[in-house]
Each structure stands twice: as C-alpha cells, then as structure tokens.
C-alpha cells in the first residue's frame, strides 16, 4: 500500500534554533496535512496543502508541487511549546483518507 516515510524519528533541539522534518511518499499524493500531537494525545492540524507553501508564525510547510512525492515542515526559532510528536499525512485525493507517517518526536531544550 501507500507508504509515508517520515524523518527523523526523533529530534532534540535547543530553544532559538531551526530544524526541518521531512516526509517522502512512495507514490504521487494530492494533498498533505501536518499535525502535532500533544501530551494528551490530541492531534492538532498545523497545515493542509494541495501545493506550494504555507506559513504560520514560526512554522512553514512546503509540498513538492511537481512530482508530489515529498513535503517538509520547518520550525524556526524553536520554543519549548513546540515540543511534541509531529505527524505528516498524505491523501491520494483531495478529500480522501490520510496515510500517516510514523511521526517525529521533537524535544525542545532550554
């Protein structure tokens, strides 16, 4: 089946630094969505992209518009509240079921 390969699986970074997460798709995907799962287990949507880039505060995401085979999430000036597990998920159609990556556990250190 469709696979979403997410890297790295874990990431520690100090406050104020930048980092990037990546998801590769084994097949062409139409859309990608990024989530952060907090300590209570809630999945919070960060971005939905069908193409291009989106930015929200210190977070920015991009979706490869040509081949639609990967997406990235950049964290700029990391803060303690950015800690959590980040998931990417991709859909074969714009309104279809999502296939999730295995997650990146991010720890921001003071």
């Amino acid at each position: 089946g469709d696979q979403v390969e997410q890297s790295p699986s874990a990431l520690s970074l100090h406050e104020g630094t930048d980092s990037a997460l990546r998801c590769n798709f084994t097949t062409t995907m139409r859309s990608v969505q990024w989530f952060r799962q907090n300590s209570r287990g809630s999945l919070i949507s960060l971005f939905y992209l069908a193409s291009g880039t989106k930015e929200n505060g210190r977070l920015k995401s991009a979706f490869d518009s040509k081949e639609r085979r990967y997406s990235t999430l950049h964290i700029r000036d990391a803060q303690l509240e950015d800690s959590g597990t980040y998931f990417c998920a991709a859909g074969r159609g714009f309104a279809s079921a999502l296939t999730f990556g295995s997650g990146t556990k991010v720890i921001v250190l003071p």
Binding site: S45, Y48, G91, A97, F100, G103
Partner: protein
C-alpha cells in the same frame, strides 16, 4: 464551535463484549473519517463517509467491525466480540470539503481497552 466530539473518552470491555464508539462531527462538515492509533501500528485509516454515504472502508477489519452514519450529526463505530488486539485509541475526524480545503479536524479520541 465545539470541534469533533467523541464519546466515551475511555472504555474498558471484557474479551468477547461489544463496544460502540460515537462521533459527532463539526456542524456543517460533510465527511467523517475513522482512524485508530496503536504504539505498534501507528495511525491507521479505517473507514469514511461523505454526506452520510460510506465511501471507503478499505481499512476496516473484515470481521467484527462496522461503522454507520445514520444522520449528519453522528457516526458510530461498533466492534463485536472485542479482542485484546482491538485495544487502541480510536479517532474520528471531519472535513468540510468547501473553499478548496479538505483539511481534517480530529476529535480527542476514545481509548478502548479490552481485557
């Protein structure tokens, strides 16, 4: 906007018992999705409805699992004869499908524990 509502938040059943999980999507959303999350398998798609019609149940185990959406305000996931391997967090999501965005919004999940 209360977001996606899932009840109960926690459910414990004995092996062989039935479990029914409820989901209330965001008002006005036309699509409802069910997923489950385990440590071993991660997040897996189960099934989804659009305008109350079943669209894709390719992730549903063929036996014991069923899902329904009798009206636009709620969906249920029923597991018959629960087994320990059914223990997971079951997540419901909804999306609106208009404005060009099909962003899925997730509920808090129901943690099912089968003893």
């Amino acid at each position: 906007n209360a977001g996606v509502i899932q009840t109960p938040r926690h459910k414990v059943t004995g092996k062989g018992q039935e479990a029914t999980l409820w989901c209330e999507p965001i008002s006005g959303h036309s699509a409802v999705f069910w997923y489950r999350q385990t440590i071993v398998q991660g997040l897996e798609f189960l099934t989804y409805f659009r305008n109350q019609a079943p669209i894709d149940d390719s992730g549903m185990p063929k036996e014991r699992f069923s899902a329904q959406m009798p009206n636009q305000s709620h969906s249920t996931l029923k597991i018959q004869s629960t087994q320990p391997q059914d223990s997971a967090v079951y997540l419901c999501a909804s999306s609106s499908d208009w404005g060009g965005s099909y962003e899925q919004y997730f509920g808090p999940g129901t943690r099912l524990t089968v003893l």
